[in-house]
């Protein structure tokens, strides 16, 4: 495996960990705020900050 492959794989592993956290937050109904879907989405792709208009599910 090349160094480039190794670096890409490491990044993918990190992104997958964040994605798992985001899915857990979704299952718990936590879409915004600390440890939320939105927070983990920005961790996966920081360039999305300021680009997303949240309209989460309603649990009322």
């Amino acid at each position: 495996m090349t160094d480039e492959d190794q670096a890409a794989l490491t990044q993918l592993q990190t992104q997958q960990m964040y994605l798992t956290r985001a899915m857990k937050a979704a299952c718990e109904g936590r879409w915004q705020g600390e440890d939320s879907v939105e927070a983990w989405l920005y961790a996966i792709d920081p360039s999305l900050q300021g680009q997303v208009t949240a309209n989460p599910p309603s649990y009322g």
Binding site: T2, L9, L12, L19, A26, W31, V37, T53, N55
Partner: protein, 217 residues
């Protein structure tokens, strides 16, 4: 350049990230950029029926604060005096809104003002309901009054409770809300002129004109 396998994983990760964003933005089904579309991009062999959740933007607005404690099923005891329907209707409204949980017929009479504003000879002296509005105001509850058509009354009382009196009926009732196309009333004289707890359009038109008082924020 990374290996083809790593490149495929990167593409899939990008699709998952976009799917996550679409979920957060409430774009669950349909054409891209929806969650459904990204899932199908990840695995085109999947077949499913998308069933989106109710979104925060779809949720009805919260009721006004003054209706937070409103209970439309609040009981309405039968009136003891023949002239106290307005007091019973007012007392019901005070109880239903949580403004005075102990207020019943005599309390309503006292609040309206015996004998100047309500008495056995005339009942409620001002048939518009101005004294009822004054009492509500003293409980910091705003209200409005008008002689309404059935359609206007139905529209208003579907949103907020109040009291009303028919000129030909000569009887005050509380208005709990609406039931289908009818008015749902709190009636201290059930059965009077054939009205129990539902007032139909035909009854409204026959027993009016109605002075309607309704609560506001």
């Amino acid at each position: 350049m990374v290996s083809p396998e790593i490149a495929q994983l990167q593409d899939q990760q990008a699709l998952l990230t976009q799917a996550l964003r679409s979920m957060l933005e409430g774009t669950w089904c349909g054409a891209p950029p929806s969650t459904e579309a990204f899932v199908l991009a990840l695995d085109p062999t999947l077949s499913f029926t998308c069933n989106p959740p109710t979104l925060a933007s779809d949720a009805p607005p919260a009721p006004p604060n003054y209706l937070a404690r409103y209970d439309p099923s609040t009981d309405m005891p039968r009136q003891q005096a023949s002239w106290s329907c307005s007091a019973c209707a007012l007392a019901w409204l005070l109880r239903a809104l949580g403004l005075n949980s102990d207020c019943y017929e005599q309390c309503g009479i006292n609040e309206i003002g015996y004998p100047n504003n309500i008495n056995p000879t005339y009942g409620l002296m001002d048939g518009s309901g101005a004294q009822l509005q004054r009492v509500l105001y003293e409980y910091n509850q705003n209200s409005e009054q008008a002689w309404l058509s059935y359609d206007s009354a139905w529209s208003i009382y579907s949103q907020t409770p109040g009291v009303m009196s028919g000129g030909a009926w000569y009887h005050w009732v509380g208005v709990r809300g609406t039931s289908d196309g009818n008015l749902w009333v709190a009636n201290s004289a059930p059965g009077y002129d054939g009205v129990w707890d539902i007032l139909t359009r035909a009854q409204f038109n026959a027993l009016g004109p109605f002075s309607c008082v309704w609560t506001t924020a």
